[in-house]
């Protein structure tokens, strides 16, 4: 009996361990330490965004080919005969666009094709530096394998399984695709409000995470709308009511007061 309980507990532990590794797998950031000894997080780009960027690039290339072909046909009609030279140019153009387009822009724009640039994506080396020409050539040559057997089926499945959303080309070249969104900073300053909440100490010790959450709530609550802010606050408020032995009162006021009386760790 005792033995069976023991195994059960071991099983539980293993389960929670599995859950732990599951959450790290879901993490879509890549931490990079700069020579300035600062660690910052890159957000990785997933299959959906990357497919969208690829389609944009496809459109751009298609439009370019269309313009060139039209210009060449107009000259052919104008001069009254079809030149083999023009057919040759179009074929070399096809080749360049198929194999050289991404490498060219990787080098010109440090890892951004026009499609990636429009969506704020960039290819970088795993270590955070820009990719070298050799890495760019490798990851783009390997498209020929990722594209098999149809529309990047191999590449997309590899991406879905891999921890950093890498396709075969990325795995070989040690590259990742990250998002570089240009975020705008919220202007609003936190309005610190003091309400008299009976029984709440004048100075509180709150954890870093609690402070961050409360501060975000304070900055956002004006744009949430009164009733939504109330709803959200009611979810968290019972925790603090229980902790400090308070009953009743407005939940929003309680949270803002907590923030104003909090001292930083």
């Amino acid at each position: 009996m005792a033995a069976s309980r023991q195994t059960q507990r071991a099983g539980e532990v293993r389960q929670s361990g599995d859950l732990g590794s599951f959450t790290t797998k879901l993490d879509t950031t890549l931490s990079i330490e700069t020579p300035e000894r600062v660690i910052f997080n890159h957000q990785l780009a997933g299959p959906a965004l990357r497919t969208a960027a690829y389609l944009l690039d496809l459109l751009i290339r298609g439009a370019f080919v269309l313009v060139v072909v039209m210009a060449l046909s107009i000259t052919a009609v104008a001069t009254g005969r079809l030149h083999g030279l023009e057919a040759g140019i179009v074929l070399v153009l096809f080749f360049t666009l198929e194999w050289g387009y991404f490498v060219l822009f990787d080098l010109l724009l440090s890892g951004q094709s026009p499609g990636k640039r429009m969506l704020g994506l960039r290819v970088i080396h795993e270590s955070g530096r820009s990719l070298t020409p050799a890495e760019s050539v490798l990851r783009n040559l390997l498209r020929a394998a990722d594209i098999l057997p149809f529309f990047y089926a191999i590449g997309l499945s590899t991406m879905c399984v891999d921890r950093h959303f890498r396709r075969l080309g990325d795995l070989v070249a040690s590259t990742v695709v990250v998002r570089e969104p240009r975020l705008r900073l919220r202007k609003r300053r936190v309005e610190l409000v003091h309400h008299d909440v009976v029984g709440l100490p004048q100075r509180l010790m709150l954890s870093r995470e609690e402070l961050a959450a409360l501060s975000l709530f304070a900055r956002r609550s004006p744009e949430l709308g009164r009733s939504r802010a109330q709803e959200l606050a009611e979810i968290v408020a019972p925790r603090y009511r229980a902790r400090y032995g308070i009953s009743g009162g407005n939940a929003v006021d309680l949270l803002l007061t907590l923030l104003s009386r909090a001292s930083r760790p």
Partner: protein, 324 residues
């Protein structure tokens, strides 16, 4: 100890600096920037790095940290971007590293030659004796087109326009074949094996069928001009693919990807060298092979080119240290 209100003040005090850094590192400005701009941006970058670690330490709200994260990551990319193309390095790669790596990894080239050559010889012999066999390999109209194309000697040559069109086609098609032979090697070598055998078998069937229809000398005269460059390049690309697949299989106790990364420079040098050879071959195939030059001259040129290719692969880049 600081209070929550400080965070608003931090934002307000530091925001002009953040905005300035954001603008300085935008697009390609760091590459073209003046010394003063770059130095200013570097100062700002270090400050923002400090702001980020401070914000993270003090439990600032996630949106502020996300903003600083994105700013630092963009500035990091701008500062540590690659320095652009260095032409001398590419020349060394093509004329010395490439042949040296081909020599060093000769077993893969030998395997690649066998995978391409054996089906080629088999289908060549079979389809030169039996039309039914050739028809099993390729659609009958393709075979008829081929037989017709080589029925007459190219004594008057094609005109220059048609040559340009065909050179374009060879670039598009043949370099593409070589790249596919290489890239599909990532599937544990199986893709390279498939493409090598397939291309060998198809080439053999075509040459065999054209020979059976009595124009064997014509097709060989056409092919001998560029084959030394083109076939060798496709075989080298295939060999690089096989090497890539083999690195994934023989992990040498360091893990599959690490084992592959170990071979990466060697593989890349071979593929780029092959691509370069194929571009040359496309020019020869488009303009020289179909020309009206006498048959004897074409055979002689083919022989010279063959010697040049073998000599290049055997001797170029000797005595230099190969980066592994």
């Amino acid at each position: 100890m600081t209070t929550a209100g400080d965070e608003g003040r931090l934002t307000e005090e530091r925001e002009p600096a953040w905005k300035e850094l954001d603008q300085l590192t935008e697009g390609r400005r760091m590459r073209r920037g003046t010394a003063a701009e770059i130095s200013r941006a570097a100062t700002l970058y270090r400050q923002v790095c400090r702001d980020l670690s401070r914000a993270a330490q003090e439990g600032s709200p996630p949106d502020l940290i996300a903003y600083l994260d994105s700013l630092v990551s963009r500035a990091h990319s701008a500062f540590y971007g690659n320095p652009g193309v260095v032409w001398r390095k590419w020349a060394t790669l093509l004329f010395s590293t490439f042949p040296a790596e081909v020599r060093k990894n000769w077993p893969f080239l030998a395997l690649s030659i066998a995978l391409f050559g054996v089906p080629l010889v088999v289908t060549l012999i079979k389809s030169s004796h039996s039309l039914t066999f050739a028809a099993q390999m390729l659609p009958i109209d393709v075979l008829e087109d081929m037989a017709e194309a080589y029925a007459s000697e190219l004594s008057d040559g094609r005109n220059g326009d048609a040559n340009a069109a065909m050179a374009g086609f060879y670039v598009y098609n043949n370099v593409g074949i070589a790249f596919r032979c290489f890239a599909s090697g990532i599937l544990f070598g199986l893709g390279s094996v498939f493409f090598l055998v397939y291309n060998g078998a198809v080439s053999g069937a075509i040459v065999g069928h054209v020979t059976a229809s009595g124009s064997g000398a014509n097709i060989l005269t056409f092919v001998c001009g560029h084959a030394p460059l083109e076939l060798t390049a496709i075989l080298i690309a295939g060999a690089a693919g096989l090497q890539m697949g083999y690195a994934l299989l023989d992990v040498r106790g360091i893990g599959r990807l690490e084992s592959l990364w170990h071979e990466r420079a060697a593989i890349l040098a071979q593929v780029l060298g092959a691509a370069f050879m194929l571009l040359l071959a496309a020019g020869v195939e488009g303009f020289w092979s179909p020309s009206s030059a006498p048959r004897e001259l074409k055979w002689a040129m083919g022989g010279v080119l063959m010697l040049a290719v073998v000599g290049f692969l055997a001797f170029a880049g000797r005595g230099r240290r190969v980066a592994s």
